[in-house]
């Protein structure tokens, strides 16, 4: 018997690839960043001081140390400001990291938690007093750090977010206040100022532009 099986395979419908292009706009590109560092130190680019609640109208802008002390009537706050203009970072740039380096000439005992707050109104280190400091405007807390109890060490304090803002807008921050916000009495923490003969404050910036 002749078996003639015709297998007709008919694919009923075939959908060819539709070539309609969904994206009418298509673009790819890149932007390369330049990296560098800048270290600021010295009275030409910085100023610092401290204020004392117990001596509310006294300025300590020429002191060789700046002090931080807790309490409710004996508080002391330290202030620092750095001028970033000598780094020549454009406003389109930014800080990758920024570290404030302070030499702690006198460490408290026990260790204290100190608060670094962005200072958002300008101040003059050679005239600032406790009374005037109450009229300054402060931003949010940048960071806190532990003092430790060892004299003669350099503490490194990250202030990247503030320096990044300062690069983009010179009015974003005018430096920092360092305070001990505990109301209970304790030891004083003291840092070398720009008036010290050595180990003066530094601001080390790694940036991109």
């Amino acid at each position: 018997m002749l078996l003639a099986a015709t297998i007709g395979v008919g694919l009923g419908v075939a959908y060819a690839a539709s070539l309609s292009v969904g994206s009418w706009h298509l673009w790819a590109g890149s932007q390369t960043l330049t990296k560098s560092t800048c270290t600021l130190s010295g009275s030409a680019v910085a100023n610092d001081t401290y204020v004392d609640q117990a001596h509310a109208n006294t300025n300590y802008g020429t002191a060789t140390t700046m002090q931080v002390h807790p309490g409710t009537s004996t508080r002391q706050w330290s202030f620092l400001h750095f001028d970033l203009s000598s780094c020549s970072i454009p406003t389109t740039g930014g800080a990758d990291s920024a570290t404030l380096k302070l030499y702690m000439s006198n460490a408290p005992s026990p260790s204290r938690t100190l608060t670094v707050t962005s200072e958002i109104t300008p101040f003059t280190a050679t005239t600032l007093t406790w009374t005037q400091a109450q009229s300054l405007s402060y931003g949010s807390t940048t960071t806190t750090f532990s003092s430790g109890t060892t004299n003669g060490v350099t503490v490194s304090i990250p202030v990247t977010i503030d320096v990044d803002a300062m690069i983009k807008n010179t009015s974003a921050s005018y430096g920092w206040r360092i305070s001990d916000d505990n109301t209970s009495l304790s030891d004083t923490t003291a840092f070398n100022t720009l008036n010290a003969t050595s180990n003066i404050p530094q601001l080390v910036i790694s940036y991109e532009k």
Binding site: I7, G10, L19, V21, H25, A28, T160
Partner: protein
């Protein structure tokens, strides 16, 4: 003779079967729909420039792209943070908006990416 005729018939059947199968293998396609065409793919910009914000740990929190041509309004902007080894560290996307004379876009959600490691922004813009 009888055997020969049977063998011949069987052979013809086999051949016919395979012929039919071969014919079927052409897969007659009855395409009911087939289209082809082309469209022009253009770019709404030739360059972009970004700035970025960081947190106090130095990690990228957002990338800001301003000055985007208005022709890019509504398109999707993707940004990839790239390191020196050309590896992607993180990426995000946003819709181009906030258009006046130009537009802008803010991209977040890169994960934890240290700004120190970012040496390049890689952009992609797509849209209709």
């Amino acid at each position: 003779m009888k055997y020969l005729s049977k063998a011949l018939g069987f052979g013809i059947a086999v051949v016919a079967t395979f012929a039919a199968c071969a014919a079927a293998a052409t897969l007659a396609l009855s395409s009911t729909r087939l289209s082809a065409g082309n469209v022009g793919v253009t770019a709404c910009t030739s360059s972009l420039a970004a700035t970025r914000n960081v947190n106090n740990a130095g990690n990228v929190t957002q990338v800001n792209v301003a000055g985007i041509p208005a022709a890019c309004s509504g398109e999707t902007l993707s940004v990839t943070l790239v390191n020196a080894a050309n590896a992607a560290l993180g990426s995000g996307s946003a819709t181009v908006g906030n258009c006046g004379t130009t537009c802008s876009a803010t991209i977040t959600g890169f994960g934890t990416v240290s700004a120190l490691n970012v040496v390049r922004y890689s952009y992609g813009l797509t849209g209709a």
